[in-house]
């Protein structure tokens, strides 16, 4: 059931694609789309160290960034409204300026799906994109998330990364139960896990059959680095979307072990459907 979609009007190259996916789903399921814009003044105003005599220049730079972002937000809102009206979908707008991250997470509570870009969040091409902004959102347990790529492609082929863990099982189940793309062809991939791969794939495919996915492909891939192999598999199969779970301590694992999700976020050229 999909009744409310939250889409980040971030001012990045991913935003038009996020809006397009949101509007498409809203039309299909008669959902309301909420476009949210954020100004994180603390981030915008970070200009780094300032030398003696540079104070006025720093203030001017901050003021310029704020004005530019406000202008770009207005443009984003205008574009969003135009697309929604043209598609005939219900929409609403939300704008936050203080404690923006918390406010975004608060908005998520009352939405069924959150759409963002794979990389970048609310920079409006004014400030640098810190790598971990999207990861922060995921760390705050905002789920499910559809992180879109820069190029739009209709979702016809979905690659599901499954390793038998609770996280990947929840991801796999959520994807099929939400049924956002019921006509998509599905392929389930298990990396390594030689002892139980065949059983995992068979059980997962059966689960998908119950939900009406008749033609499910499966693959057991043995490789040294599943993080890197996943995107290759997606490219080889011409997948339009990648379904995967995320780990709760993404930040820590990213730095200590490196995570498949982080790798995908950094390098994927197709949307990621991220759940528990």
């Amino acid at each position: 059931m999909l009744k409310r979609i939250l889409v980040a009007l971030s001012g990045t190259p991913f935003t038009p694609v996020a809006v397009k996916h949101a509007v498409e789903l809203a039309r299909r399921y008669d959902a309301v789309v909420t476009g949210v814009t954020l100004i994180d003044l603390k981030r915008i105003h970070v200009v780094g160290a300032v030398p003696v005599g540079g104070g006025a220049a720093a203030q001017a730079l901050r003021g310029h960034r704020t004005d530019l972002i406000r202008q770009r937000i207005e443009e984003e809102i205008e574009r969003f409204e135009s697309v929604c009206k043209e598609a005939g979908v219900h929409y609403q707008l939300a704008h936050e300026t203080e404690d923006t991250f918390t406010k975004l997470c608060d908005l998520w509570r009352y939405h069924d799906l959150t759409m963002i870009g794979l990389r970048g969040l609310f920079e409006y091409e004014v400030i640098k994109n810190p790598d971990d902004m999207v990861a922060r959102l995921i760390n705050r347990r905002v789920r499910p998330i559809l992180a879109v790529a820069e190029d739009y492609r209709p979702i016809r082929r979905a690659l599901v990364a499954y390793n038998g863990s609770m996280g990947s099982a929840k991801a796999m189940k959520r994807f099929v139960r939400m049924g956002l793309w019921p006509d998509a062809k599905v392929k389930i991939v298990v990396f390594n896990r030689d002892d139980e791969a065949e059983q995992l794939l068979s059980d997962a495919a059966d689960y998908y059959h119950v939900y009406g996915y008749d033609d499910v492909e499966t693959a057991h891939v043995r490789c040294a680095s599943p993080r890197e192999e996943l995107l290759k598999q997606a490219a080889a199969w011409e997948s339009d979307i990648l379904v995967m779970g995320t780990q709760s301590k993404m930040h820590l694992l990213k730095h200590v072990l490196g995570s498949m999700t982080t790798q995908a976020l950094r390098h994927a050229e197709i949307p990621l459907f991220l759940t528990q």
């Binding site: 030398p51 003696v52 005599g53 540079g54 730079l61």
Partner: protein, 496 residues
């Protein structure tokens, strides 16, 4: 059907904040009046000028803390969330600076008694701060009245020419003046190109820093050297390392820009070739006034004979002449020139507010270095180059220069081969002074905070839509890989 949630407005400062500002203003006024009163008393008491103490001041470990404190405040208060906006006020900056100044005066009161206060302020304010800030003010205001407009075709040779001219001009009108004069027409010239960031970076290297080497008016640390007895035209002797550094960097830049020019889109190049506007100078009369400033600094020397008129120059006559030139500039500059440059007094007021504290607080470290400077272990010119340069990269290069100048000065107590006699009668090894001068000026280019115009140029470029690197990006992707090898070559050729 749509609904629109209310926009959250960014709120202004609370009433309580305003009353705190007023208190700070009164505090600053009180502090300034106190310092001025001590100075006036000192002058009227006809105390003999001191040549400075060379014995280590008592409790010097405590005495240097105000100097460390003010530099720490300058470095960190703009970065801390609770103080970053508070620090934007020049009244607050002055309050902080005066606080550290007063702490230094309290220190001297305790260790040397009330009679020492006048001497400290004599050195810090009368001999250093007033000439320093008046020169910076005059260069800032007069060069702010020169506006250069235009949009040339952004060929690599044109861009290289712009930067080369700036690297020469900086020595005559100051690195800040040259940077503010040339950055806007350079950005306008490159407005049709996509690859512009590297041009701004090399501009910062050459115009905002290295270019200011040849005259004391080129960069504040060199002027402080002049005030400490370095002959006015001595810095012209640095032309060889200056020229070598400039040529190497200009060649690197030309090749880099040529490579990127070929990567520009054909439609952008076509637009660049067709959208042109010849260079137009407004307020050019100010170039004459700047020449007057240079002449005033060079030839109106307290205690010496006034050129042509033959009378002895009394204290602050030079400053009066310079301020008169400023008044004439403000009167005779066409109205649009300063507006085009978005001129305002904020930057110079900030420098004035902070340096009053820096110069007073600096007196203790100077005395410590006069006494113990040789213990730092710096003995060679290349030692001084890298030591001065490393600190100049992150701290203001003016006090850094003074710190190492005093160190080198303390190490040289008599005339001899390779020893230069300063106009004050003191001595300094010339090769050490070369190392200090080049280190302070050249290595101000290493970071956005090494020199004031670095950050100003970065801000102007960003406001023109150019994505400049972050602080660390500039340091690790550009200044270290490009400048360190070049400086190593300069050191090897001229200082080893």
């Amino acid at each position: 059907m749509s609904s629109h949630s209310a926009m959250n407005a960014h709120s202004g400062p609370p009433e309580q904040g305003r009353s705190r500002l007023n208190a700070m203003a009164w505090y600053s006024i009180a502090g300034s009046v106190l310092i001025a009163a001590i100075l006036v008393y000192h002058v009227l008491s006809h105390h003999e000028p001191s040549h400075g103490h060379h014995e280590l001041p008592a409790l010097w470990g405590i005495g240097i803390l105000p100097f460390v404190g003010i530099l720490a405040c300058i470095a960190f208060l703009p970065l801390i969330r609770w103080t970053e906006h508070w620090w934007e006020s020049n009244v607050n900056r002055l309050g902080v600076a005066l606080s550290f100044a007063l702490l230094t005066l309290v220190y001297y009161l305790i260790v040397r008694g009330p009679s020492s206060l006048g001497l400290v302020l004599d050195h810090a304010i009368l001999k250093d701060y007033i000439p320093f800030i008046v020169l910076l003010f005059c260069l800032y205001v007069i060069s702010g009245g020169i506006a250069l407009r235009g949009d040339l075709a952004a060929h690599p040779i044109t861009n290289t020419g712009f930067i080369a001219v700036g690297a020469i001009l900086a020595s005559f009108i100051g690195t800040t003046g040259a940077s503010m004069l040339l950055i806007r027409p350079l950005l306008q010239t490159n407005s049709e190109r996509k690859h512009v960031m590297h041009t701004v970076i090399f501009f910062i290297f050459l115009v905002s820093n290295i270019g200011g080497t040849l005259l004391p008016v080129g960069d504040p640390p060199l002027f402080l050297g002049y005030l400490r007895g370095v002959e006015f035209f001595w810095t012209l002797g640095l032309w060889k390392p200056w020229a070598t550094c400039c040529v190497i960097l200009l060649v690197i830049y030309y090749l880099w820009d040529t490579y990127l020019y070929k990567k520009e889109r054909p439609e952008d190049i076509q637009l660049d070739e067709t959208q042109k506007e010849p260079l137009q100078l407004t307020g050019g009369i100010n170039l004459l006034y700047l020449a007057g400033i240079v002449a005033a600094v060079a030839f109106i020397v307290p205690g010496k004979t006034f050129p042509l008129l033959g009378f002895e120059v009394f204290p602050f006559l030079r400053e009066m002449v310079m301020l008169a030139l400023v008044a004439i500039s403000l009167k005779t500059t066409p109205p649009g020139a300063r507006e085009f440059n978005q001129f305002n007094y904020a930057a110079i007021l900030e420098v004035a507010a902070l340096f009053v504290g820096i110069f007073i607080a600096m007196q203790v470290p100077i005395e410590v270095l006069n006494s113990k400077g040789s213990a730092l272990g710096l003995t060679q010119a290349w030692h001084f180059f890298w030591a001065t340069g490393s600190l100049s990269s992150f701290l203001d290069n003016a006090p850094t220069y003074v710190v190492f100048f005093e160190t080198a000065n303390a190490m040289t107590t008599e005339a001899g081969p390779e020893v230069m006699t300063l106009t004050t009668g003191d001595f300094i090894r010339e090769n050490l002074l070369i190392g200090i001068s080049l280190g302070a000026v050249f290595m101000g280019a290493m970071t956005y905070i090494g020199n004031g115009p670095n950050f100003m140029v970065r801000a102007i470029a960003e406001q023109s839509g150019i994505k400049m690197p972050s602080f660390l990006g500039y340091l690790f992707k550009y200044s270290i890989p490009i400048l360190i090898p070049v400086f190593a070559v300069i050191v090897w050729i001229f200082l080893v």
